[in-house]
């Protein structure tokens, strides 16, 4: 744990930055951009589920909240992104903060249900309100990224905006976890009683974790809205939550690099399934079950350990908490 640990996330993202060198087709760039967006969602969700151990299944609601807030404000009311970004983030922060209160009252399976219900409420409300929120059809005239006079035209530019967002999100989250914030999150996961015994206030801790995670997932939603320039309720339902959970589990729950890798892998793999339309639920469900039974730790921790021992170094505790 001593010595500056290089950012694993940054290393992987640098590789992903090279994608446009291989292909400039709009379709491939869209897939890659979505993969990066989901990487941010997965990392935010990982903070709540994997690092802090809270059984929250409301991920798609935060994702959708961030997306819809900016879509409505910029698409319907013409506000500039300089305004809609902070608003989206604040909205998600507040909702996250509030969602922590159920987490203080109920745990595990019960909390899973409550958060699922919250997610359902969100999707229902969004679909039922035509007019401003676009109803079931969604909002179609969301502007692209723009700052001052400049507007991002073309998939390539938008892809790099997303990439910058992913880097900022990934590195900042990694650093947060290597600090007191990360210790508190892992503390409430490993032992709530133990956490209390070192003076951690559970209410403050959980509200912090949920709020911060909400902000990251909402940020991903913001990026999604302006990347796709279209939002609809269908993208933010249970399927998306399950997809995100699969990404975390496959990559390695609790491990930020795992969430990143899981998101990239599960976003890109279905491309090979494109020929077998309709196979997605079977594939994702099956993969989730398989990983949990065979490799419950997830891909990244196992790969990291193998690499470490083959390079002759003793395996350290991943996701180090003390940044020295």
């Amino acid at each position: 744990m001593t010595g500056r640990r290089p950012s694993e996330g940054l290393a992987i993202l640098l590789l992903v930055a090279a994608v446009p060198l291989a292909t400039q087709s709009p379709y491939h760039l869209t897939v890659a951009g979505l993969a990066l967006i989901f990487a941010i969602v997965a990392q935010g969700a990982n903070l709540v589920m994997g690092v802090a151990g809270q059984a929250s299944f409301a991920h798609s609601a935060f994702f959708g909240l961030g997306a819809y807030t900016t879509a409505v404000l910029s698409g319907r009311y013409g506000l500039s992104l300089v305004a809609t970004l902070p608003v989206s983030l604040v909205v998600c922060f507040v909702v996250g903060f509030l969602l922590a209160y159920p987490a203080l009252r109920v745990r595990g399976f019960y909390l899973a249900l409550v958060t699922l219900a919250v997610s359902e409420i969100f999707t229902s409300v969004i679909s039922q309100l035509p007019g401003v929120l676009g109803g079931a059809e969604g909002i179609v005239d969301v502007p692209s990224f723009g700052l001052g006079g400049w507007v991002a035209e073309g998939r390539l530019t938008k892809y790099y905006v997303i990439w910058i967002g992913a880097v900022v999100a990934s590195v900042s989250l990694e650093r947060l976890l290597a600090s007191q914030f990360g210790r508190v999150a892992r503390g409430i996961r490993d032992s709530e009683v133990g956490a209390t015994s070192v003076g951690i206030n559970l209410t403050r801790a959980k509200t912090q974790v949920f709020a911060v995670a909400g902000v990251y997932m909402g940020f991903a939603g913001f990026l999604y809205a302006h990347f796709m320039q279209y939002v609809s309720p269908g993208a933010f339902g249970l399927n998306t939550t399950i997809l995100v959970v699969s990404m975390i589990v496959v990559g390695g729950m609790g491990d930020m690099t795992g969430a990143l890798v899981g998101a990239l892998v599960l976003s890109l793999l279905p491309q090979w399934l494109r020929d077998y339309v309709g196979l997605e639920p079977v594939f994702f469900g099956g993969l989730l079950v398989l990983i949990l039974l065979v490799l419950p730790e997830g891909l990244v921790p196992v790969v990291r350990r193998t690499l470490r021992s083959s390079l002759g170094r003793a395996p350290g505790a991943p996701g180090g908490c003390v940044a020295v």
């Binding site: 399950i242 594939f283 099956g286 949990l292």
Partner: protein
């Protein structure tokens, strides 16, 4: 972990259903033909009578099975203290498997009973599951009567909300009420509150 595993299984099964039946919506014929029964100005569809009778019947059988038979008591024992159960010759893994099987069958029966009243498609499972869990938690998950009370409460609440508050938003509204109820009383209406100590 187990929760996520079952989510994965459910997704896998749903995927299989999509492969077999696609995304089509199906309608099943009603359980009982004939005009609705009238009693003192209230009209009750025959099919609903079947549903009510079936629910009560299942509840009665479950209650008898778990309180009066050795089989049921073994399951409760293993749930309460797996180690102690092993010491008296009960295998918790077997009881867990039995319960899973039973729960699955009950869910299937419920689905079959409900299909004529609403419609059926590959995603209908989640929708009902959410309400079913909400009903079970609202009533109190450690007692059978809890599910019954919770279901009734939920159904009545939804009806009232649809009639007097808002029809389009009745489901989010009811879910919201359930969330608040669980926060106020996490153990549900009939459940026994847990004591919080170390």
């Amino acid at each position: 972990m187990l929760a996520i595993l079952t989510v994965g299984l459910a997704t896998f099964l749903r995927g299989l259903m999509i492969l077999v039946w696609g995304h089509d919506v199906f309608f099943a014929p009603p359980l009982l033909d004939g005009p609705p029964l009238r009693w003192r100005g209230v009209s009750i569809a025959r099919a609903n009578l079947v549903l009510m009778a079936a629910s009560l019947g299942v509840l009665a059988v479950l209650w008898l099975a778990f309180t009066r038979t050795l089989w049921g008591k073994k399951i409760l024992a293993a749930a309460s203290n797996p180690e102690a159960a092993k010491l008296v010759g009960i295998e918790p893994a077997a009881t867990r498997a039995a319960v899973f099987l039973l729960a699955g069958c009950l869910a299937g029966v419920a689905g079959a009973l409900v299909a004529p009243v609403t419609f059926a498609y590959s995603g209908s499972g989640f929708h009902f599951m959410l309400k079913a869990f909400a009903a079970a938690l609202l009533g109190g998950i450690d007692r059978f009567e809890g599910a019954l009370v919770g279901g009734l409460a939920l159904g009545l609440l939804e009806g009232f909300v649809a009639g007097y508050v808002t029809s389009a938003f009745r489901e989010p509204f009811v879910l919201g009420v359930v969330i608040v109820a669980l926060m106020v009383r996490p153990s549900g209406l009939l459940g026994s509150p847990a004591v919080r100590i170390t």
